[in-house]
Every structure is written in C-alpha cells, then in structure tokens.
C-alpha cells in the first residue's frame, strides 16, 4: 500500500520536472547565445512583439529597425522623403502621385510588381484597426503597368511621400496577408535581412537575404532577443551576451563603457500638460504661474543624468529645422504671484499625474511637485501604469500631467501630433485645449504643401500653443544606444526607425 502511494508520488513529482526541463531546450535551440560567431549580430530590443511582428501594430518599427521590410519611400537624415522601393515619384496634381518602382525581389523569391504594391497598400487601408499613419487620409493605389503605381488621395495630402515611408506601410509579398486579416513578415519582406524564425515574444532569427536590390548585407544574420527590463538589457551588453542593446535607461548608462554608449537626440519631448478645460488650470493666470514655477532644466542633469536637452519648445534638436524657424511666443497671460495662487487655489489641491512606464517621469514629477509648491500650489501626485489611467487622462480628471510624447509620429510630419493633441476636436487632447487661433494655425500648416513654408507654419502653431500655457515643455529626451566596440555601422536615428542596415557589421 505504502510503496504504491510512494510510487505514484514519485511519478507525479517527476513528470512536470521532465516536461518542464524540455521547454527551455526548445526555446534555446537554434538561437543560443553562442550565435555571435560567423559574423552574426546579436541585438537586444526593448519592446517585445505584441502581434507577431505585424506591421499594423507597435511591432512595425522592428521591421524597419532591422531592415526587414521597406516602404515605397524612406526618410533621409533630415526627415525628407528618399527613394526606397520606389525609384522616383512625381506629383500629377494635388491628389495624384505616380511612383516608379525599382527592380526588386521579395524574400520569398517573387518579384516586386505594381500589383504587389497595390495589394500591400490595400491591405493596410482595410486593416481592422487602421495603422495610425492612415488615420487622417484615405488613399487608393492603382497599378498602371508592371512598375508604375498611381496613388490618389481623397483630399490633398502634401506629405504623402513621407507617409509612405512609415513602417506600417512596408510592402510585403502577397503570401504575407492571410485570409483572417493577420499579416506575417516572416520571409515576405524586401529588405537585406529576412526573418526565418520568431520564437514567441523572446527571440527571432534573421538571415541575410542575398537577393536584396541594394547589395548583400555585411552581417550574415541577426539574432534578436527582446529584453523588456532596461537593467537586464544593459547587463546583457556588459556581459557580452549581445552586441547592440537599444534604449539603455539613464540610470544604467553610467555603468556602460564610455565607448559603448552612444547618445542620440530623440524626437520625444517631455512636458507638463495643464488641463485648460476644467479644474485649477482653467484659469490662465494660474497656468502662467505654473509655467514660471516649473524649471525643466534642472531635470536634465539630475533625473535624466545628462541624457536630455533643455526644452526649447515643443520640438527639440532632433527636429533639425525647428531651431531656425522658431517663432517668439507673445501674448501670454501674466502669472499670478505666490500669494495670489494661494488665495485663488484655497482648499483645492493640484492633481499631478504621471505614469510608471517611463522610469524618469515619476522622478520628474516629484521634482516638479516641489517647484509648484514653492509657487503656492498644494500638490498631490497620482502615479500609475499608463493604461490604468489613460481613460481618466482623456476625461480630464487631472490638473496636470507629466507626459512624454513623440513629436514626429508615423508620418515624420509634425502636424499630425499637433492636430491630435492641441486642436479642439483632437482625439488626444489631454490639455482640453479649445483655442480658435491654435486651431487655425494648425489647420493652415496642415494645408501647406511647400516643405519650407509648412515647417514655418508648424513653428507658428507651436508659438500659438505655447502662448496658451496648455503645455510647458520640460526637456527633449536623448536615447542612449549601447553598442559594443566590435560593431560598426549602427544607425543612430532620432526617429528610432532604423538601427541595423546593409553596412552594419562586426569588426
């Protein structure tokens, strides 16, 4: 009796042990840490795939970062459109553009034709949740002949070539698009690297695609591992597990060797958003007082450990044209003095919100709290995970928010950000701003087709927005990329769209 029960116990105890032990073996095979040999790059990325690398999700940037998929166009250093799968393009009229394709092959061996481009763009336009880049435009693509595509937009879209550079509009072969609406970039892109295996949310294996139109890549392949924790990512680089680790947190940057950390000004601006629609900051003089109280510059060397630039406006040094075209802000409300603030806010606390997803923000909020309290406000913080508070943010339940925002979205054009965040009917208008002059300025920028004039109008809109004190820019973030000494040719892109390309290789 006893022996049987012991036998059962032993069997029960052993079976999960054995079953469990094999799991990591499966995971590890083929993509082990020893794969750094033979010219393969080992890259640690920060954001694990959410939709199996579908271009219509967050994962799209992975495809462009690792040069897996390409669009018709690409962005050059200054953020202008450059040829990619399209050799050249011409604008026929306000709504019609003609793109000439280059000769290229997909990684599955099929040719890139006008039909395959139309197919890819149609799928993007019909995706169940539309990629952000298509949210404010409706486009139709038509194949004229084998290598000419005509794209028409419903309304005039001066930034169409920029739009087409979005990773969400990467051109994949027809094999990629399944019946059920899912899109798989595994072996279906046109870039110099081909995804051969994707292991859950942890690893991916990329091999060189020898048929790339731009020549053979110098690295024979890429082993990607996703490491969400910043400390672990930095640790992986330091212990030599990976060659490239993106987004090293500022708290870890100092631990890296000086020649392995590379800083890039980012298009991300951190700012204090004030709720103009309701609560304390509906009063412009209080907003003005808050702006004068808040000093973002002290954050640069403290919270950001030097990896940030002092705020110059909504657009920082990563937006190369912004500084030259900046418009002076005039007509701001006069700030209330500390005594006035105390009198006006009597008994009311300032609800200061921020979120934990970016480690620097809660620290920044605590610094700002002290600055605001000196100006006479009584401050209470609310810090949570972003998704836990987004609905409350959009509903205007807070007076102020420390917010980190990408100022050039998918389009690479600043108008989309301004329109969604600061126009009266903007869907991401956390400041609750309703100002006809702001709306007008943004609208006229959106309609401008000429690049230089458009940039000038964007900067005029920036000045109009800053005049309202709905937003107080704090710092422009810098991204620290960890790159081992043995690697050369890594792209340091302020838009965080590219990282590895044909020329990246181990020394």
């Amino acid at each position: 009796m006893r022996t049987t029960s012991r036998g059962i116990v032993a069997a029960l105890a052993l079976s999960p042990l054995l079953a469990g032990c094999f799991a990591p073996g499966e995971d590890g095979s083929g993509t082990g840490g020893e794969a750094g040999s033979a010219g393969r790059l080992r890259v640690a990325l920060a954001v694990p795939p959410v939709q199996a690398l579908s271009p219509y999700s967050n994962d799209a940037t992975v495809l462009s970062k690792l040069s897996v998929a390409e669009g018709l166009t690409a962005l050059d250093k200054d953020g202008a459109a450059a040829p990619a799968l399209a050799r050249s393009w011409t604008q026929k009229n306000a709504t019609t553009w003609v793109f000439e394709l280059r000769k290229a092959t997909f990684q599955d061996g099929t040719e890139v034709t006008a039909d395959s481009v139309v197919n890819a763009l149609d799928h993007a336009a019909k995706a169940e949740t539309r990629p952000r880049v298509l949210s404010d435009v409706t486009l139709t693509a038509k194949a004229d002949d084998a290598d000419t595509v005509t794209i028409t937009t419903k309304a005039a879209d001066p930034v169409l070539p920029l739009r087409l550079a979005s990773p969400a509009l990467g051109i994949l072969s027809s094999k990629a698009y399944a019946e059920d609406g899912t899109v798989s970039p595994v072996g279906t892109g046109t870039g110099p690297f081909e995804i051969t295996k994707l292991t859950g949310k942890t690893k991916a294996t990329l091999n060189r695609f020898d048929g790339y139109w731009g020549g053979k890549a110098k690295a024979s392949g890429i082993d990607v591992s996703w490491i969400a924790d910043g400390t672990a990512r930095a640790g992986a680089l330091r212990s030599g597990d990976v060659d490239i680790a993106e987004w090293i947190p500022t708290a870890q940057a100092k631990l890296l060797d000086e020649n392995t950390r590379h800083e890039v000004p980012s298009v991300r601006t951190d700012s204090l958003i004030l709720n103009t629609a309701s609560g304390l900051f509906a009063d412009a003089t209080l907003r003005s007082a808050a702006r004068e109280a808040v000093d973002g510059d002290v954050l640069v060397d403290s919270v950001f450990g030097g990896y940030a630039d002092p705020a110059q406006g909504l657009f920082g040094p990563a937006v190369s044209w912004a500084a030259d075209r900046r418009v002076e802000v005039t007509g701001r409300a006069t700030a209330a003095t500390a005594a006035q603030v105390k009198a006006e806010t009597k008994g009311k606390t300032l609800r200061l919100a921020t979120y934990t997803n970016r480690a620097e923000l809660p620290e920044a909020a605590t610094v700002l709290q002290q600055q605001l309290e000196r100006a006479g406000f009584t401050v209470k913080q609310d810090v949570r995970e972003y998704t836990q508070m987004e609905a409350d943010l959009l509903a205007g339940k807070y007076d102020a928010l420390v917010f980190s925002r990408v100022t050039l979205l998918d389009t690479g054009d600043a108008v989309a950000y301004l329109a969604s965040d600061y126009t009266g009917d903007g869907v991401y208008n956390i400041a609750g701003l309703k100002d006809s002059k702001v709306d007008q300025a943004i609208k006229s920028a959106a309609e401008e087709g000429d690049t230089a004039a458009r940039q000038q109008k964007i900067m005029r809109a920036e000045a109009e927005i800053l005049r309202t004190d709905a937003v107080v820019p704090l710092v422009h973030e810098k991204v620290v990329q960890g790159i081992s000494d043995d690697v050369e040719g890594v792209l340091l892109d302020p838009r965080e769209r590219s990282l590895v390309d044909v020329d990246t290789r181990l020394k």
Partner: protein
Amino acid sequence: MSITPSAGAHGLPTRWRAGAGRVVAGAALLTAVAFLPWLSGTDPALTVLRARSAEQDPTPAQLAAVREQLGLDEGPFAHLVRWLDGLAHGDAGTSWVSGEPVLPQVTTAFAVSLTLMLGALVVTVAVAALVCARTLHLGSRRRLRQARAGTGAAVLAALPKFLLASLLATVCGVWLGWFPSQGWAGPQSMVLPALALGVPSGAVIGGLLDQSLPAAFHEPWARTWRAYGLTNGRIARTALRRALSGVLPQLLPTVVALVGGAVAVEKIFNIPGLGRLALESAIAQDLPPLQTATLALVLLGVCAGALIQAVRRALLGPALRDGALPTLHLPALPRPRSLPWVIGFCALALLTLVVAGLLRDPLHVDTTARLLPPSFAHPLGTDSLGRDLLARLGHGALRTAGVALAVTVASALLGLLIGTATQVGAGLTEVVSTLPAVLAGLLTTAVTGPSVWGAACAVCLVAWTPYAAQTAALLEQERASGHLLASISFGAGPSYLLRRHLLPAVLPPLVRNALLRLPTTVLVLASLGFLGLGEQPPTPEWGRLLSENQPYAELAPWTVLAPATALVLLSVLTVSGTATGRSRAGLRTAGRGSA
C-alpha cells in the same frame, strides 16, 4: 479505536466537500476574472488598442473597430461561455491583443515557470536544511538545551527577492560572468533566478521547521529510541518526518505560488514565464490568456495541494488516521543568552533610525545632491533626487511597519478562520494560494478604484493562504492526538477544546510564520503601487524606497542597502521578540505542569 470506523464513514462526504470547495472557489475566481474588463471601469477596447500600438490615437472609430472585432458588446457571459466551450475542445481562444492562439503561449510560459519553480524548490530545500541543520544535529544527540532564536532565518527571509535577483544578476552574471545574467537558454540560466527565489522561501520554511523540531525531539519516543540504541541519524530522520508534516503545506503558498508570482524576478532575468504573461494580459485586459493562465494556476494549486496532502499522509501514516498522534508541543527551553543582546541591538538601531529620521525632511528634493554616498550631512546618503535617505527611512518606518502589521494580523486571522473550516477551507486555500497578488490588486481596483486602502485589501485577499494551510495542517494533527480524545471522553465541549487545546497548538507556529513573512508583506504592498493602490509618491515608505532605488542598486548601493537593512532589523526584532515571549510562556506552563 472507536474513531477509526467513524472516520471511514465520514470519508466519502468529506472528500466530496473538499472537492466541492475546490470547484466553487475555482469557478468563483474564474468568473471574477472573466468579468474584470467589464468591472474595471477602464474600457478594454482602449487598453487592447494601447497594447497593440502605443502611439495610436484613441479615435472613436478605432475604439469601435476594436470593440466590434472582439465582440465586447456581447458582455462577459457570452465570452465566458464561448471560452469554456472552446476549452472543452482543447482550444483556449485567441489573444485579444495579438490574435494568436492562447494555449501554446500559456503552456510554454507555464512549463518555463514550473521548471524555474522546481529549481527554486531545490534551493528552498537546501536553505531550509541549512537553517535547521544545527537543531537537527543537537536534537538527535539530546543536546538541545537552548531555544533557537531564529535570527538567521529571519535575516534571510527578510531579503527582498527582487533585490537579491538584481544583486545576483550584477555580481555573478555581469561582473564575474559565471552564469548568464539574463535569458532562458538552458539549465545554467536557471541557477541565479532559482537562488533569488529559493533563498528567502527556504528561510521561511526552514525557520518554521526549526521551531517545531525541538518539540519532536522532546517526545518520549526519542528518549526510548535512544535508550534502545538506535542511531542518531535514525532519530533525526523520524523527528524530521514528524515536524515536516506540519510545515509541508507551506510549500504551496511559498514555493508553488512562485509559478505565477515571480514577476519581478522574471523581469530582471528576462524569463518568459507565466507571471509576466499574466501581468501583461491583465494590464492590457487581454481576457483569453488571462483566463487561461488563471485556470492553469488554479489547477496547479489543486494538484500541488493534493500532492502535498498525499506526502503528508505518507509521512504521518496510520497515526493520523487512528488518532494516535502525541501532540507536538514546544518544550520549555531556556532562551539563548545572546537573545537579549540581539533584541536590544535591533531595537536601538531602529529607534535611532526613526528618531534621527523624524528630525529631518524626507520630501526635500535637491537635484544637485543626488546619489551622494553616506557622509556627515547625510548619514545614509541621498537618493536619485537628492533626498535624505535617513529622513525617508525614519518617516516611513511607522507607516510601513503599521500597515504591514495590520495586514499580517488581518490575513493571519482570516487564515485561522478559513483553516478551521478544514474541508471547504482546503479547497479555497489551494485555489487562492497560487493567485498572484497583482491579479488580486486588479480585482480590488475594479471594485474600489485606486485608493490608499486598496493595497492592504488586495494583499489580505491572497496573503491568508499560508496561515490557512498551516492552521489546517496543525489542527488535523491536533485532532488526531490522544489527549484530545481523552478530553472529549471527559466531556469537553467544542469551545473548551478550541481554547485549551486547538488554539494553543496553532497559535505559536502561526505567529512565527506571520512574522517571518512580514518583510514580504511590506514588499508586496509596495509592488501594487503601479495600479494606484496604496500611498502615492513622494510619501516615504520602505517598500517604495526599495523599488524606486532598485535601478540605482549598482551605481549607488547605499540607496537600497539602507532600506533592506532596516527591513532585516525589523524582521529580526519581531521574530526574536516573540522568541523570548514564547520561551517565557513555555517556562511558565512547564512550572505549572510540574507543580
């Protein structure tokens, strides 16, 4: 003898009742999870959209598209029914976020976590063995003349797992390169995380075992066996077997629960385990994987519970069934001479910390004085915002200790109650003990919204399981003891039995257990902060001090060293404090007994 047939007659109904308890508890939990997206007050369409694409604008059209795609308007019932129906066909649905089948994801993550847990179990057993090795050695030779204070176990049990994990990853992974600092590529990547998880757990288990071993050694059989000439090893083994049966159920909430509850360590070592999967899907309100992960954890809890029960039965054997167990009561041993010194030192150190800290400003931010090492101006250094750590520790002390004690008392009482309801309680305990605290936190926020007391409620919701398991195990033994039978035959009523026999047998180990778990409670409370539960920053609180300074652990070790030391001091103080209380009480009863 008369009890044997009645136990047989009760056998079937009790087993039914236990089974029913499990089914009801499991079903209730799964239903609660199924309702989460509708209860939470946060639109699941928004969280799913956010998880898919972080920069996506939440336009009404986009949200409507997500809602329609997921069928959110059908309500929770339709989803639950569909999920259960699919489950019957071996299909757990597709993830709302990724659109991929859930079952492969969950099984892979489950296998990874289970393997890691088994590794942690090995470490736990090793550490527990080390903790009680001395008692075992002395006891088997009848040289156990002093009570054990349990200081060593208290120190180890107070080490925060995530801090241990960071430390191991940095030192053994990055600096020395002995083991991989992250990833899950083979047995060698299991070593560090298993250590980080196993050492504190082993200290808790070992501490409990260490406390009950002297009682086993003081039973009459030990003397007889010794006189009879049996080897020390034999006596030690039997005593261990005797003491283990009461401690074994602790493995369920302490070690098995790590399958779903090791999120922090999984993050630090980048392990694709079930804890992270459950957390991510809970945050995104991605119901199918969350439900499936919960189901897996419930089943794991029930299976592990049954397994542990079987092992216990095998250890205690027929004695448990026949009511022939002598009761396992602590012998009256004099306390070790060093104990007052230990208590005095800890008390003095904590008192100094609090008094000195209270005289300083814990909120003053000075960005020019960040991460300063300890100096005359800042005796414990400053944190990343230049705030004085001594001040933050001192101001946080009362709040931290107060809330943690209150939560511990509440969960211990709850555990005592549920543990007393043996059969139904056992099912409930098994189901809840593997539930991650974060899930409890989410369920709590859904009901209460973000609040100061939310964290305390959420922790109470899951933290009672170790105490219930312990109570149930001890009561079962106690009920099978000969002297209880004698009392009943003398006509003692239930309340008399409870007061004079059952509670005195349960309480001392329960208190010890609760105190050993006090530091964990502090950390779990702080870990729910990101849900908006608990005090908001910049309020100083020890758990938060540890977590907010964790990124700076390598750059400025003092920022985490100070709060960790404070936690250790608190733990040692409470554990040794009760050790003196206990031995005094023990001496008193012994005196009365002999008189």
